[in-house]
Symmetry: C2
């Protein structure tokens, strides 16, 4: 009933005028937690908290709609917005008995951004708004705290000057530092009211000089400009980059929350802090956070002063701490997820300024999800949805081999777990450049800021000298699943000299260091890493995922070792065993080259005979490792020239080894040269031209299968023919293969079960899948090539324009990483539909890179594939993604 009446009243409202502003105060709110799209995460949660009795300062939220309209209409406020803001300011004044711009009882407000999705630190905020020379006098009189009033005033000018008026942050910092030096103050808090008055005066000069304008004194003008600045910050480069990196699309804009200020900077009875209801790094169910006495919120987040652990608050303010713990429990129970909470204490009174689902490491996400189920707060299905499959990567990624000797040169905060080695870089852009060249880098900064986000993303790990567990570096690194050691106070960084020192050790740019983000330790040099396994909570979650999913997960593996690793990660078979990799090993390449250089079939057959026992051995190893799970072997795929050297020096070497003239090698290379090798003589086209190659491979597979079966091990080979475009190709090759297979069966006096199927990687194959299914026992979509051909993009060449394509929004994502569902996906759907029209029970899988991409895995589930196949380390990702696909489809 409530929903209906809500709906009615909002419909009625929209008839009259559009609602741009939602009020919260006096324990009531016009919004709620479900309205994130309209009110932003922050605004929606403030409304929600207000409704459930959390002590939240009153305020109102301007909708994301308003921001969208602002951009649509050429940066003008939608009609009605200004009036609604004024109306709500009135409400706020009434709620607090204070008045905006009043010199006797002034109302000060914060103006904060907040999109539907949390983008910490990416957009702008202005605090202490409403101050001017007269109001600050009123504040002094009202609070009897001149120092506080002047501190708030200088903070306001600094923030507004920077955010709204575009004055460089450093210019303000310079004034502040100069004053501190002048009076011998160590921290900002050591400055007196008089010092701060000087600072305020200087600040105003800085603004005037930088902008040619006076600092505005009319509070409404301040408010209007601050709201515009928040709107503008929606499209600043940092925010855009964040959206891109996190694949966030389709948001309307940012909401703007205007809220009565509460002050943590009113002296030693005041403070501010950030806390997590559980440990965001490990997931441990332990209250966790940091606070600062006599400070405003930005001091904690920006890492300017290193804050104290939350435990300390129990001693400093035991009553308030107890109250905070109660709120922790209330909020977690309410939201059924780990919360990231900002609070402020003003003269011994606790206020909550924000709550949101906390960012966490993958390990923490897994542990929290599993424990919430055990605590009865979540269902298993819900738990499955709580972990981003992409982040599992972190858990599978290396840790340092405990057997090697290592001596930490420094220790800081274990801000984001993981192990990483790389070359030291002190600048974010430089880090990006080096990473592009394929170098491993560790970004080392005194502290990080939102501008560094690109470099942080590019780096293997992040090391900072300042800042706590909730500093920018720590939060962002955890979000990225990037190893981070923060606040290593013992290192001294010299940006100019491009080095850092720790004790007597000097580390220069380009030197290798290693970080252990779980221990918070820093090592010299490049350390050996080992892989982790699935166990504990991770294992539990994966078990739940396996129970939920219907899509099988196989792996792409070419060696017994890969096969074993993948089985350990839960692979249910091999979906792609590439035989060409085997052709390069050791002496084999010589036989392969002999085959290629042969002028006739006899010569090729002779050379291939040398390869037979080696290939057979490979397959025996793989079959044994897979212990009865199905193994899909793809016959030779790449063009033959890939097996010949293209550099003259190597050609000479080859000629010498094979005892043939150099000219012969060069002639063959020339003869095999192709303009577009991707579309050339490869795949089953080789099988048609040189049947003896596939003959040998077929024989090797089936002989190996027989040999392994003889040992009592089950074996299910599935032979896969690549690059089929026409049914007849498949027919010709299949018939030849069946002949060989039956011959081997006769020779061995035994049989094994096998399948012969085909890759669907040429658009024509998908388009004529009904025909091809007549001859194929299974389909495996090779989405790498299918993407290349369907899109007309060569993966090797697309680099020159693909970046621009993603940036200009032509693609949402790199189509080689995440399946182009609209185009390539359509082709796949068509192929499956047509294939199953012919053979209703046709087994269908995918074996391109996309098999390990969660969005693509969900697609594969949706279109009814039987399995995906991906690299061993992505198997758990695919398992979880497949389970999420089921849960998501249940919701619909």
């Amino acid at each position: 009933m409530k929903t209906v009446s809500n709906h009615k009243s909002s419909a009625a409202a929209s008839k009259n005028k559009k609602k741009f502003v939602y009020f919260f105060g006096n324990g009531k709110a016009e919004g709620n937690a479900k309205m994130k799209a309209l009110l932003g995460g922050k605004g929606a949660n403030l409304a929600e908290m207000m409704s459930i009795g959390i002590p939240v300062p009153p305020g109102f939220t301007i909708t994301t709609d308003s921001c969208a309209e602002y951009y649509e209409t050429g940066k003008k406020w939608p009609v009605g917005l200004e009036a609604q803001i004024k109306e709500n300011i009135k409400k706020l004044e009434n709620a607090l008995g204070a008045k905006f711009g009043d010199r006797d009882n002034p109302l000060l407000v914060s103006v904060r951004s907040g999109a539907a999705v949390s983008m910490p630190g990416m957009m702008d905020t202005v605090l202490n708004l409403g101050l001017n020379p007269e109001v600050v006098q009123g504040l002094i009189i009202k609070t009897e705290n001149e120092r506080f009033a002047m501190d708030s005033y200088r903070r306001f000018i600094q923030m507004f000057g920077n955010v709204v008026m575009g004055v460089n942050h450093d210019e303000f910092e310079h004034v502040l530092e100069t004053k501190k030096k002048q009076v011998g103050a160590k921290a900002d808090t050591d400055l007196s009211a008089k010092d701060l008055k000087d600072v305020v005066a200087k600040y105003k000069e800085v603004v005037k000089k930088a902008t040619g304008e006076e600092f505005p004194t009319d509070p409404y003008e301040q408010l209007k400009k601050a709201i515009n600045a928040v709107f503008a910050s929606w499209k600043n480069p940092r925010a855009l980059k964040y959206l891109e990196l996190n694949d966030i699309r389709g948001l309307l804009g940012t909401a703007v929350s205007v809220q009565a200020m509460v002050f943590g900077n009113m002296g030693d009875t005041s403070g501010t802090g950030v806390c997590f209801t559980r440990n965001p790094s490990t997931g441990e169910n332990k209250f966790y956070g940091e606070f600062l006495v006599n400070a405003q919120g930005e001091d904690v987040v920006a890492g300017i002063r290193t804050p104290l652990p939350l435990d300390g608050m129990a001693k400093t303010w035991p009553v308030l701490y107890k109250q905070l713990v109660a709120i922790r429990e209330k909020l977690e129970k309410h939201y059924r997820d780990m919360q990231d909470i900002e609070f402020t204490i003003q003269e011994n009174k606790l206020y909550i300024l924000q709550t949101r689902n906390g960012k966490r490491t993958a390990a923490a996400a897994v542990r929290i999800a599993v424990e919430l189920v055990k605590e009865g707060k979540l269902t298993r299905d819900q738990a499955i949805m709580r972990v981003d499959p992409k982040h599992l990567d972190q858990l599978l990624h290396p840790t340092f081999d405990p057997k090697q000797k290592k001596q930490a040169i420094a220790k800081g905060l274990p801000a984001s777990p993981g192990a990483a080695s790389g070359k030291v870089v002190f600048n974010a852009e430089h880090a990006e450049d080096m990473a592009k060249k394929g170098e491993s880098v560790i970004l080392v900064r005194i502290e990080t800021s939102p501008e560094d986000i690109g470099g942080m993303h590019a780096a293997k790990g992040i090391l900072t000298a300042r800042g706590g567990m909730t500093s920018h570096a720590a939060v962002v690194a955890r979000g990225m699943g990037k190893c981070c050691v923060a606040g290593v106070g013992t290192i001294h960084i010299d940006y100019a000299a491009k080095k850092f020192t720790v004790g007597s050790t000097v580390v220069k740019e380009g030197d290798w260091i290693s970080l252990d983000g779980g221990l918070g330790e820093v090592y010299l040099g490049q350390l050996e890493t080992i892989r982790s396994t699935l166990s504990g909570d991770f294992g539990t979650l994966m078990k739940w995922a396996d129970a939920a999913r219907t899509l099988k997960v196989r792996t792409n593996a070419d060696t017994p070792n890969d096969a074993e690793v993948a089985r350990g990660f839960g692979a249910e078979g091999i979906g792609l065993c590439r035989t060409e990799h085997m052709f390069f090993e050791g002496d084999r390449i010589i036989a392969v080259r002999e085959m290629i250089l042969s002028d006739d079939k006899d010569g090729r057959v002779k050379a291939l005979a040398k390869l037979l026992p080696m290939q057979r051995g490979d397959f025996e190893g793989i079959f044994e490792a897979m212990k009865g799970l199905p193994v899909t072997v793809r016959l030779l795929d790449p063009p033959l020239h890939e097996f010949l050297p293209h550099e003259e020096a190597n050609q000479k070497e080859m000629a010498q080894v094979m005892n043939i003239p150099l000219q012969k090698v060069q002639e063959k290379v020339q003869a095999l040269h192709e303009f577009n090798p991707m579309l050339g003589h490869r795949g089953c086209r080789l099988g048609i031209s040189y049947p003896e190659i596939y003959d040998m491979q077929t024989r090797a597979i089936i002989e190996a299968a027989c040999n392994v079966k003889k040992k009592g091990i089950k074996v299910y080979p599935e032979i896969m023919i690549p690059l089929v475009g026409m049914k007849k190709e498949l027919d010709i090759l299949k018939n030849e293969m069946i002949e060989i297979i039956n011959k081997v069966f006769r020779e061995k006096g035994m049989k094994v079960d096998y399948l012969i199927g085909t890759m669907i990687e040429i658009p024509r194959a998908a388009l004529t899948a009904d025909k091809i299914a007549e001859s194929a026992q299974f389909f495996s979509f090779g989405t790498n090539d299918l993407t290349q051909m369907a899109l007309g993009f060569s993966r090797d060449d697309a680099g020159s324009f693909l970046g621009a394509y993603v940036q200009r929004g032509i693609f949402d994502k790199d189509p080689f990483q995440s399946l182009d569902q609209e185009g390539v996906g359509y082709l796949i759907q068509l192929g499956i539909e047509k294939g199953r029209n012919t053979k209703p029970d046709l087994k269908v899988g995918i074996c391109g890179e996309h098999g390990g991409d969660p969005a693509s895995v969900e697609f594969c589930h949706r279109v009814g594939m039987n399995y995906v196949s991906c690299s061993p380390y992505r198997v758990p990702i695919a398992r979880l993604a497949a389970a999420q696909a089921v849960v998501r489809s249940k919701k619909k």
Copy 2:
């Protein structure tokens, strides 16, 4: 009613036993002309002629079915065939009162091949079958003509020995020539009965020596072996090659007609001939043919003796000639098409042995079709179907420029019209080899035989020293639309010395000669040719075609000259004007290279500004030439590296011209190198990366359009964006273009109508055509690239395997020449359907090579395209093909 009862009785027959043999005799026949698939063309027409009262010797036809079963069951006769043959031999004996193998009144038969489609000379025939030492004595007694009997016997042994027993033809010829020399005989007819008896004896020795077997004497054994030989000839290399060259597929096999022999070799009251009811070379409605006195049919066709023109028969045998003329009229009226008739005169009695629709040149086909309409024998629709569009090529192809001086060195028969120059080659295989290398060759032979068919196809023209207008060379050349001068008696060919002489002139292999097949003249050297125009009957037929068709035909033209030629051939617009060709001309390439070498946009814009007036001029010329017809201009498509030299010498030259270091050129070439340029940075991807290129081109097009419109000429530019895969690409480029266009309109103070559309040449574009159609005003399918990508074949590289693919039947035809309707066609259908779902009136065309291929044009009609676009000389082909598509769809 008749059909129904026929159906019933044949169904009943099939219940009891399958009918393999169809009798004809005594004015009645079990078959008819519609049963070509079952009885072959020859058998069906013999039955038909028998029924309508033409004097046909009686006989029976073994079905093509029998041949198919013969192959299916491992070369065994189907059960029942032998019994049915024996039964029919009995019938034949009864009809004639003679007996097979009888020494008193022997029945002799011919055994002839005949598939559903006429394949002249490709399969085998045995005449005079039934002779043995005893029977020949009976024949002598019966005919009182020993010479005739022995001539028939030696012909039988020669033909059976060669066709059935595989003895080399030359060995028999050697015996015959030796005998002729020995007795001083000029022609075969000069040999006496005794001479021929000797020849028969020697022939038997030749057979014994070559095969180790005696020549068979049992007539039934002879018959059985001859039938098997005809079955076998269905798969001989000549026949297979003929089927391949003529794109004939799906035939069951050959039928075998066994017919009572009539003898043209019974002396001067006997003879044999071949005639056409109209001139097969020009189409003139004049009875036309050749005959030989005292000869059997193969003497005429094989060109062994040069026969006399048919006119002469009016004098030699006036009564018979009159009878033949009456038959000519009867048959043409009956079949409503020009007939190719074989006849034999036995002792002043006329027999017709075969009739079929005559092969003809394209010019003759056109004239005959048009005149048959005028004579009221055909409808216009039927006339349209009578000309193979592919053959129109001949009519549009060059003739020698009449202005140049030329002196014929020899004159022969104008066997097949056209003009051709090429290097002299004396051997068919060699001609094929040279043609493969791209050389123009003229095949020069004393006479041609079916073995030469590959070389004839490869040659530009054919010259023979012997043989008439119906000789093998003449018939085949006309069928191929190949220029041929036959029977040039004055030239002396020396195969061994690889030269021919004519008077004192010696022409060696590799020397250039020219042939005029319309005049029958031979010239030295390479002559200039000119193009022909559409007029006369051709014009009339094309008018009918235009009235019938609904599909528009445009042309691919890049220059005003091409545009004018195409308008002359009836093009209704330009469907593809490639702008990149314009970039290569003269100084432009320097500006283009300047643009490519620029490091920034400013440099590119500067270089492009130089190109603008030139491009504008190009478009003005083309718009003026097209006089108000629509012109589709494709913006720049190829990758930029195509405009840079790849050879070091050329790079040096370029560096010098542009006054820059060689290294800079080489670095750029290196930077632009791509692994798969087909799938690389080209098409609209260039437009996205370097908007200034398309800006310049758009401006040039619109400025040109305005300038031409100012002159009072109508102009309809259609701007086409290549290589679009995603709607957003099109959106971005289109918006930029519209901005430029409106700017030009403002500058010029005027507007022109224009469209902006896209190529559909990337599979993804077809798959998402519903989306793309939202932004495109027209679609043009670029089937060259679409084929490459849908099939994963690089046209430049597929040569290494495509031949084998066509040969092994994986493709019916080269998919780059004739659209792969199943695969690529499906994509096109999908694209049109989806595009028109969004925009029901979306204009859709095709601009790949396929636009001039008749089968592909029919496909385009069927799927509802608005137009095809092809090269200027293929415009008439497309017009006719489009008309045929309509007529064919009416039939269904």
